[in-house]
Protein backbone atom coordinates (compact mmCIF):
# COMPACT_ATOMS: atom_id res chain seq x y z
CA UNK A 1 0.00 0.00 0.00
CA UNK A 2 2.85 2.37 0.91
CA UNK A 3 4.67 1.84 -2.37
CA UNK A 4 1.47 2.21 -4.36
CA UNK A 5 0.60 5.45 -2.56
CA UNK A 6 4.09 6.72 -3.23
CA UNK A 7 3.74 5.92 -6.95
CA UNK A 8 0.37 7.67 -7.21
CA UNK A 9 1.81 10.69 -5.39
CA UNK A 10 4.76 10.83 -7.80
CA UNK A 11 2.44 10.51 -10.81
CA UNK A 12 0.19 13.36 -9.72
CA UNK A 13 3.16 15.51 -8.70
CA UNK A 14 4.63 15.03 -12.19
CA UNK A 15 1.45 16.08 -13.97
CA UNK A 16 0.91 18.97 -11.52
CA UNK A 17 4.36 20.36 -12.29
CA UNK A 18 3.94 19.80 -16.05
CA UNK A 19 0.67 21.76 -15.97
CA UNK A 20 2.39 24.52 -14.00
CA UNK A 21 5.13 24.68 -16.66
CA UNK A 22 2.45 24.94 -19.37
CA UNK A 23 0.66 27.77 -17.58
CA UNK A 24 3.77 29.79 -16.74
CA UNK A 25 5.14 29.35 -20.28
CA UNK A 26 1.84 30.59 -21.72
CA UNK A 27 1.80 33.64 -19.43
CA UNK A 28 5.42 34.62 -20.00
CA UNK A 29 5.74 34.03 -23.76
CA UNK A 30 2.54 35.58 -25.10
CA UNK A 31 1.60 39.19 -25.80
CA UNK A 32 -2.14 38.55 -26.09
CA UNK A 33 -4.09 39.46 -22.96
CA UNK A 34 -6.68 36.71 -23.49
CA UNK A 35 -3.93 34.13 -23.70
CA UNK A 36 -2.52 35.39 -20.40
CA UNK A 37 -5.95 34.66 -18.92
CA UNK A 38 -5.90 31.18 -20.49
CA UNK A 39 -2.49 30.54 -18.91
CA UNK A 40 -3.86 31.64 -15.54
CA UNK A 41 -6.79 29.25 -15.98
CA UNK A 42 -4.41 26.36 -16.66
CA UNK A 43 -2.47 27.21 -13.48
CA UNK A 44 -5.71 27.22 -11.46
CA UNK A 45 -6.69 23.84 -12.95
CA UNK A 46 -3.34 22.37 -11.92
CA UNK A 47 -3.86 23.62 -8.36
CA UNK A 48 -7.44 22.27 -8.30
CA UNK A 49 -6.18 18.87 -9.43
CA UNK A 50 -3.61 18.78 -6.64
CA UNK A 51 -6.09 19.87 -3.95
CA UNK A 52 -8.45 17.04 -4.96
CA UNK A 53 -5.52 14.63 -4.98
CA UNK A 54 -4.53 15.78 -1.48
CA UNK A 55 -8.07 14.99 -0.32
CA UNK A 56 -7.97 11.64 -2.09
CA UNK A 57 -4.67 10.59 -0.57
CA UNK A 58 -5.50 11.74 2.97
CA UNK A 59 -9.09 10.54 3.00
CA UNK A 60 -10.44 14.03 3.74
CA UNK A 61 -12.33 14.31 0.47
CA UNK A 62 -15.14 16.40 1.97
CA UNK A 63 -12.70 19.12 3.03
CA UNK A 64 -10.95 19.02 -0.35
CA UNK A 65 -14.26 19.40 -2.18
CA UNK A 66 -15.16 22.39 0.00
CA UNK A 67 -11.84 24.08 -0.76
CA UNK A 68 -12.23 23.33 -4.49
CA UNK A 69 -15.69 24.93 -4.50
CA UNK A 70 -14.17 28.07 -2.94
CA UNK A 71 -11.38 28.05 -5.56
CA UNK A 72 -13.92 27.73 -8.39
CA UNK A 73 -16.04 30.64 -7.11
CA UNK A 74 -12.98 32.90 -6.84
CA UNK A 75 -11.78 31.70 -10.27
CA UNK A 76 -15.06 32.73 -11.91
CA UNK A 77 -14.99 36.20 -10.35
CA UNK A 78 -11.36 36.69 -11.41
CA UNK A 79 -12.11 35.59 -14.99
CA UNK A 80 -15.19 37.81 -15.35
CA UNK A 81 -13.41 40.89 -13.98
CA UNK A 82 -10.33 40.20 -16.11
CA UNK A 83 -12.56 39.78 -19.18
CA UNK A 84 -14.09 43.19 -18.44
CA UNK A 85 -10.67 44.78 -18.09
CA UNK A 86 -9.54 43.14 -21.34
CA UNK A 87 -12.61 44.43 -23.19
CA UNK A 88 -11.97 47.94 -21.85
CA UNK A 89 -8.37 47.67 -23.01
CA UNK A 90 -9.54 46.52 -26.45
CA UNK A 91 -11.98 49.44 -26.78
CA UNK A 92 -9.20 51.88 -25.89
CA UNK A 93 -6.39 50.50 -28.06
CA UNK A 94 -8.26 48.37 -30.66
CA UNK A 95 -5.82 45.55 -29.92
CA UNK A 96 -5.21 42.89 -27.28
CA UNK A 97 -1.44 43.33 -27.41
CA UNK A 98 -0.11 43.76 -23.89
CA UNK A 99 2.73 45.98 -25.14
CA UNK A 100 0.18 48.75 -25.72
CA UNK A 101 -0.14 49.01 -21.94
CA UNK A 102 3.15 50.92 -21.96
CA UNK A 103 1.25 53.91 -23.39
CA UNK A 104 -1.08 54.07 -20.41
CA UNK A 105 -1.01 56.97 -17.97
CA UNK A 106 0.76 56.50 -14.70
Amino acid sequence: MGIELSQIFWLFLTFFILMLIEGFYCITMTYNLLRVLIGLEILIKAVTLFIIFAGYISGNMALAQTVVITVIVIEVVVVVIAAGVILGFFREYDSLNVRNARNMKG
Binding site: S6, I21, L63
Partner: protein, 164 residues
Protein backbone atom coordinates in the same frame (compact mmCIF):
# COMPACT_ATOMS: atom_id res chain seq x y z
CA UNK B 1 -5.02 3.45 -12.19
CA UNK B 2 -4.59 3.08 -15.95
CA UNK B 3 -7.63 5.18 -16.69
CA UNK B 4 -6.29 7.82 -14.30
CA UNK B 5 -3.00 7.98 -16.21
CA UNK B 6 -4.93 8.22 -19.50
CA UNK B 7 -7.06 11.08 -18.14
CA UNK B 8 -4.02 12.93 -16.77
CA UNK B 9 -2.26 12.66 -20.15
CA UNK B 10 -5.45 13.82 -21.91
CA UNK B 11 -5.71 16.80 -19.57
CA UNK B 12 -2.09 17.76 -20.21
CA UNK B 13 -2.58 17.46 -23.98
CA UNK B 14 -5.76 19.56 -23.88
CA UNK B 15 -3.89 22.23 -21.93
CA UNK B 16 -1.03 22.06 -24.44
CA UNK B 17 -3.53 22.50 -27.29
CA UNK B 18 -5.01 25.54 -25.52
CA UNK B 19 -1.56 27.10 -25.26
CA UNK B 20 -0.24 26.19 -28.71
CA UNK B 21 -3.18 26.84 -31.04
CA UNK B 22 -3.13 30.08 -33.00
CA UNK B 23 -6.91 30.62 -32.97
CA UNK B 24 -8.38 32.04 -29.76
CA UNK B 25 -11.70 30.23 -30.23
CA UNK B 26 -9.91 26.88 -30.40
CA UNK B 27 -7.96 27.83 -27.28
CA UNK B 28 -11.24 28.49 -25.43
CA UNK B 29 -12.62 25.12 -26.57
CA UNK B 30 -9.42 23.35 -25.51
CA UNK B 31 -9.68 25.00 -22.09
CA UNK B 32 -13.24 23.71 -21.77
CA UNK B 33 -11.97 20.24 -22.73
CA UNK B 34 -9.34 20.48 -19.98
CA UNK B 35 -12.11 21.28 -17.49
CA UNK B 36 -14.21 18.34 -18.71
CA UNK B 37 -11.30 15.92 -18.30
CA UNK B 38 -10.54 17.36 -14.84
CA UNK B 39 -14.16 16.85 -13.80
CA UNK B 40 -14.05 13.20 -15.01
CA UNK B 41 -10.90 12.77 -12.90
CA UNK B 42 -12.72 14.22 -9.90
CA UNK B 43 -15.59 11.75 -10.41
CA UNK B 44 -13.02 8.96 -10.59
CA UNK B 45 -11.43 10.06 -7.32
CA UNK B 46 -14.75 10.26 -5.49
CA UNK B 47 -15.43 14.02 -5.49
CA UNK B 48 -18.78 14.30 -7.30
CA UNK B 49 -19.83 17.70 -5.91
CA UNK B 50 -16.59 19.41 -6.93
CA UNK B 51 -16.80 17.64 -10.30
CA UNK B 52 -20.28 19.01 -10.95
CA UNK B 53 -19.11 22.50 -10.01
CA UNK B 54 -16.09 22.17 -12.29
CA UNK B 55 -18.18 20.88 -15.19
CA UNK B 56 -20.95 23.46 -14.96
CA UNK B 57 -18.93 26.52 -13.99
CA UNK B 58 -15.46 26.05 -15.51
CA UNK B 59 -16.44 24.12 -18.64
CA UNK B 60 -19.71 26.01 -19.11
CA UNK B 61 -19.74 29.52 -17.72
CA UNK B 62 -16.08 30.40 -18.22
CA UNK B 63 -16.19 29.12 -21.82
CA UNK B 64 -19.21 31.35 -22.45
CA UNK B 65 -17.33 34.34 -20.99
CA UNK B 66 -14.27 33.59 -23.15
CA UNK B 67 -16.31 33.14 -26.33
CA UNK B 68 -18.26 36.35 -25.62
CA UNK B 69 -15.01 38.31 -25.24
CA UNK B 70 -13.61 36.76 -28.43
CA UNK B 71 -16.79 37.62 -30.34
CA UNK B 72 -16.59 41.25 -29.14
CA UNK B 73 -13.06 41.63 -30.52
CA UNK B 74 -12.38 41.66 -34.25
CA UNK B 75 -10.37 39.42 -36.50
CA UNK B 76 -6.89 40.33 -37.77
CA UNK B 77 -6.28 40.79 -41.52
CA UNK B 78 -5.13 37.52 -43.13
CA UNK B 79 -1.61 38.72 -43.89
CA UNK B 80 -1.00 39.91 -40.33
CA UNK B 81 -2.57 36.72 -38.93
CA UNK B 82 -0.20 34.53 -40.96
CA UNK B 83 2.83 36.58 -39.86
CA UNK B 84 1.80 36.34 -36.20
CA UNK B 85 1.14 32.62 -36.56
CA UNK B 86 4.69 32.11 -37.84
CA UNK B 87 5.98 34.19 -34.95
CA UNK B 88 3.92 32.10 -32.49
CA UNK B 89 5.34 28.85 -33.83
CA UNK B 90 8.86 30.24 -33.30
CA UNK B 91 8.04 31.24 -29.72
CA UNK B 92 6.09 28.13 -28.71
CA UNK B 93 7.83 25.17 -30.38
CA UNK B 94 10.00 24.75 -27.28
CA UNK B 95 7.06 24.07 -24.94
CA UNK B 96 6.35 20.42 -25.99
CA UNK B 97 10.10 19.74 -25.86
CA UNK B 98 10.30 21.26 -22.38
CA UNK B 99 7.32 19.21 -21.19
CA UNK B 100 8.80 16.01 -22.65
CA UNK B 101 12.18 16.67 -20.99
CA UNK B 102 10.56 17.50 -17.63
CA UNK B 103 8.29 14.43 -17.81
CA UNK B 104 11.21 12.19 -18.72
CA UNK B 105 13.30 13.57 -15.84
CA UNK B 106 10.47 12.92 -13.39
CA UNK B 107 10.11 9.39 -14.78
CA UNK B 108 13.85 8.61 -14.65
CA UNK B 109 14.64 10.16 -11.28
CA UNK B 110 11.61 8.78 -9.49
CA UNK B 111 12.26 8.56 -5.74
CA UNK B 112 10.19 6.62 -3.25
CA UNK B 113 8.30 9.23 -1.24
CA UNK B 114 7.15 8.76 2.31
CA UNK B 115 3.55 9.93 2.29
CA UNK B 116 2.27 10.73 5.75
CA UNK B 117 -1.47 11.07 5.74
CA UNK B 118 -3.00 13.28 8.45
CA UNK B 119 -5.78 12.13 10.71
CA UNK B 120 -9.12 11.84 8.97
CA UNK B 121 -11.88 14.24 9.83
CA UNK B 122 -14.74 12.74 11.77
CA UNK B 123 -17.19 14.68 9.62
CA UNK B 124 -17.07 13.09 6.19
CA UNK B 125 -20.18 14.70 4.70
CA UNK B 126 -19.54 17.60 2.35
CA UNK B 127 -22.58 19.58 3.43
CA UNK B 128 -21.60 19.37 7.12
CA UNK B 129 -18.01 20.44 6.39
CA UNK B 130 -19.21 23.23 4.07
CA UNK B 131 -21.94 24.67 6.27
CA UNK B 132 -20.50 24.08 9.74
CA UNK B 133 -16.75 23.63 9.63
CA UNK B 134 -15.89 26.08 6.84
CA UNK B 135 -18.59 28.68 7.37
CA UNK B 136 -16.09 31.52 7.10
CA UNK B 137 -15.28 30.35 3.56
CA UNK B 138 -18.90 30.90 2.59
CA UNK B 139 -18.88 34.46 3.92
CA UNK B 140 -15.67 35.10 2.01
CA UNK B 141 -17.25 33.70 -1.15
CA UNK B 142 -20.25 35.99 -0.75
CA UNK B 143 -17.94 39.01 -0.30
CA UNK B 144 -15.89 37.99 -3.37
CA UNK B 145 -19.08 37.58 -5.42
CA UNK B 146 -20.31 41.02 -4.32
CA UNK B 147 -16.92 42.48 -5.26
CA UNK B 148 -17.30 40.77 -8.67
CA UNK B 149 -20.78 42.27 -9.15
CA UNK B 150 -19.41 45.70 -8.22
CA UNK B 151 -16.56 45.24 -10.72
CA UNK B 152 -18.96 44.20 -13.49
CA UNK B 153 -21.15 47.25 -12.80
CA UNK B 154 -18.10 49.52 -13.02
CA UNK B 155 -16.67 47.87 -16.15
CA UNK B 156 -19.85 47.20 -18.13
CA UNK B 157 -22.10 49.88 -16.68
CA UNK B 158 -21.67 52.29 -19.59
CA UNK B 159 -20.43 55.84 -19.65
CA UNK B 160 -23.00 58.40 -18.50
CA UNK B 161 -20.92 61.35 -19.69
CA UNK B 162 -21.25 60.22 -23.30
CA UNK B 163 -24.96 59.66 -22.90
CA UNK B 164 -24.76 55.87 -23.33
Amino acid sequence: MNIMIFLLVLMLLAGLWAVMTSLLLRAAIALALTSVVLSILMFQMGAPLAAVFELSVCAGLISVVFISVISLTHRLPLKEYLARRQNRILRFWFLPVLLAIAGLMFFLFKQPVEVHTPARLLLAEVRIVLWQLRRLDLFTQIIVLLAGVFGVLILFGGNKENGN
